[in-house]
Symmetry: C2
Subunit: 214 residues, 2 copies
């Protein structure tokens, strides 16, 4: 195994361990010592890759960013829906994404820039809504900056409610209901009629993205 | 001061202290000792009113229930909007309500029945939506149980995003945007046209409720 490949693996091991510790203990209570013990690496290895607990947490939060990459679509509204479907899939299946969301929603994580996760999602959604607007997909009164905030904030709440009530078992139907309640106020009817928010769409997206070379 | 009145005050003092400690330390890290010290009461007084840390937390969470009481309205959709406006007002001004929401959103509060807060809100909203449906205020495809889940979950997320980004400074415009995005998919146009979600409505509600004898 090449040295670079080994470094990538070690980095990933440490991040997964950090995600687990943050998930179980919360940001404030988690310690570097616990993360070291969980990852079974040396202090030197950890500090080679990450400068602090905060740095580790921000990297865990950024791990969701994979979901911003969705395949190009003629409809930019479909791309927003695809990002939501893909994130929903990962929230149900990927412990790193769960830990990322838990950190971003942790109102106790004072030292952490929790807003950064919201801001990043907001930018991505807003950018796609602006493109959707430019090509006539949105209703005339929509202000992309405002609507992006509504989409990101509401999705954050729906996932939190699903986590509290069913540990994400009912996440898929809740997210589907969210999209059906929001989209009619955002997009023109002819676009709405062809938006695909089915589970098949999620599977297709997932297969398409995992089939590509990393 | 009558003995009963003194007991009511002591109970309130302990709850406010518990709210403050939960807010600052999170549910898991908070201790009864810290709450005693903050409230400046004896252990005996605390255990006379509350059986455990969990009991205290559940009582703090229930303190939001005041917002379920809104004046009767011909439009039941307006009553749902009123409950949201009133809770938004309290979230900006009442430390007990802030602590209640923080506890309900605390994904680390394992021993706590966090779902209870979501379930209670859900019931209240669903009940009002069923009444709204019976008197023809809702679009024909609406299922009150599903739509109640969307309203409660999305509101939870909008408040969380506002807390993270501006410590609730931008809460009012974000909640207003939420209502403008959701209601057109839920209520018939003629009802939508007369729903009042202005800041004036909030002030009127607040004055009406605080003017009444407790």
């Amino acid at each position: 195994m090449a040295e670079q490949e080994r470094a990538v693996r070690t980095r990933r091991t440490i991040l997964l361990a950090a995600a687990k510790v943050f998930q179980e203990r919360g940001y404030k209570a988690a310690t570097i010592a616990e993360i070291l013990s969980e990852a079974a690496v040396t202090k030197g290895a950890l500090y080679f890759h990450f400068s602090s607990k905060e740095d580790l947490a921000q990297e865990v939060i950024s791990s969701q960013n994979q979901d911003f990459t969705v395949p190009d679509c003629p409809s930019k509204v479909q791309e927003v829906v695809d990002a939501v479907l893909l994130h929903t899939h990962h929230l149900r299946t990927d412990p790193m994404v769960r830990a990322a969301v838990r950190l971003a929603m942790d109102q106790l994580a004072d030292g952490l820039d929790r807003g950064a996760a919201f801001v990043r999602w907001n930018e991505i959604v807003q950018e796609r809504l602006e493109k959707a607007q430019a090509q006539g997909e949105l209703l005339p009164h929509i202000i992309p900056a405002e609507t992006a905030g509504v989409i990101v904030g509401t999705y954050a709440g729906i996932q939190s409610m699903s986590q509290a009530l069913s540990d994400y078992q009912d996440l898929t139907p809740r997210v589907n209901a969210l999209l059906r309640h929001l989209l009619p106020s955002i997009v023109i009817p002819s676009v709405l009629a062809s938006v695909d928010m089915s589970e098949n769409r999620t599977l297709k997206l997932h297969n398409q993205l995992t089939a590509q070379p990393a």
